[in-house]
Amino acid sequence: MWRLLREGIRFYRPVLLASWGFGVGIFFLVIAIIAVVGSVHDLNEMIRAGVQLPTAILISSMIAGFIALGTEKGENRVRLHVTLPIPIGQIALARILTPTALLLLGLAAAHVAFAVLFAVAGSPAVWLRHLTLDFIAVQLLFWLQVALALREIIELRHRARWPGALGSKAILIGVISLMVLIQLGPWESVTIRIAVSAALVALVMAFTVALFLRCTQFTS
């Protein structure tokens, strides 16, 4: 599985780097526009807020993840992977972990960018902002995984009758509702929100793997 994952990351590395380049480019373009039409005060405030550049990196990593999802589907990758002598469960895991890894690489890069920004601008509450980044990342990861799960549900609908996929849809809608509750709920602690969101992400991932295994079963 790790080898398959490593090869996947190697394949999408140029996509990830191009996405980062694009995201960072847009960020600096906005900075340049503010610098021209705004004031130095606006610019300083923006740098002090310090989450814009890391957020741009995170979002562009998520876009790379979605590009990976689309490419895997468009290039019919599973057709190649299932011919390899790898257990089907490991193929399923590599499928969900490849876009996840792209986003996590983005998260690491975002933290580095954030640390550099604060080394330059300084802030008394760096740890809090780092947690904010983690929270954003786990939210983006959730929607990435929901997209993957949705794809498997669509696949299941092609193979099973409509009611057969009904339970899967209900589970997914339930998990999305929970995530909405976490985001809109009254909980103050970012750490708790991150932990619960991460648990939901893990749940969606396990669900996607189960759906994939069900769709690719040789006999039922």
Binding site: F11, E75, R79, L80, H81, T83, P85, P87, Q217, T219
Partner: protein, 241 residues
């Protein structure tokens, strides 16, 4: 997709949880899952990392033989080159069984001939088997030993190719201006006193026609294509007075 039962490949149960049996097979389908922005060479290198028994020497020999441009990106390859890449990829680890699903679909005659030549070479040593699914019967006319005809997922007939070509025949004869039921006939056609049958049992049909007193009997061998059409059509009756 089968819904029950089991399968074995060289005595090993087909089980997706312990996939060692896949090392013994190579698969070529109508569609491929190659990494399109990688070159053919990179795709083959990718496969080599997973397939025990992979031989770069074998791969390069095959690629040279087929004129496959290994340095080209997959997205730039023509359909013919893609089919060749799929064949090279399937043979790279020296599998004992090749599973081919319409591998020559949409290919021009030259590429098709090249692919079939390679498959014939694969079979030559008697150590390899090919399971070939196709609608283009001329492809397998020279390759196959055993044929299975399927319609809507059900097996209509399973027979050796030699037995088929030996037993099936088109027989024309003259015998009065009325329809006759001929033993072994699957297709029947009559224009006045001229009759023609397609028989799946040549000997039985000839013997029966002799008993009926048929005259000017002529029989001709049928190609695999013609036999397949007769089998898949399920036999019919045409008469014109």
């Amino acid at each position: 997709m089968p819904e029950e039962g089991s399968a074995e490949v060289f005595g090993r149960r087909v089980d997706n949880r312990s996939p060692a049996w896949k090392s013994d097979i190579g698969v070529v389908g109508e569609t491929h899952g190659f990494y399109r922005s990688w070159t053919a060479e990179e795709n083959l290198r990718f496969l080599s990392r997973f397939m025990p028994g992979w031989s770069d020497q074998r791969v390069h020999r095959l690629a040279d033989r087929l004129g496959l441009p290994l340095g080209k990106k997959v997205e730039q390859l023509s359909k013919g080159h893609l089919a060749k890449l799929a064949l090279v990829a399937a043979l790279g680890h020296g599998p004992r069984l090749l599973l081919l699903d319409e591998p020559t679909s949409g290919l021009d005659p030259v590429v098709r001939a090249e692919v079939l030549d390679v498959l014939r070479e694969v079979l030559e040593d008697g150590e390899h088997a090919i399971f070939y699914s196709t609608h283009v019967l001329s492809d397998i006319a020279r390759l196959a030993d055993e044929l299975v005809f399927l319609r809507e997922g059900s097996v209509l007939l399973r027979s050796s190719k030699d037995a088929l070509t030996e037993r099936w025949a088109r027989i024309s004869f003259r015998l009065g201006e009325a329809d006759v039921a001929v033993a072994g006939a699957v297709e029947y056609r009559r224009v006045r006193a001229e009759h023609q049958v397609v028989s799946h049992d040549r000997d039985a049909s000839i013997a029966h026609l002799r008993e009926l007193g048929a005259e000017a009997m002529e029989q001709s061998r049928m190609t695999i294509d013609e036999i397949a059409v007769a089998i898949l059509r399920g036999g019919h009756h045409v008469a014109a007075s």
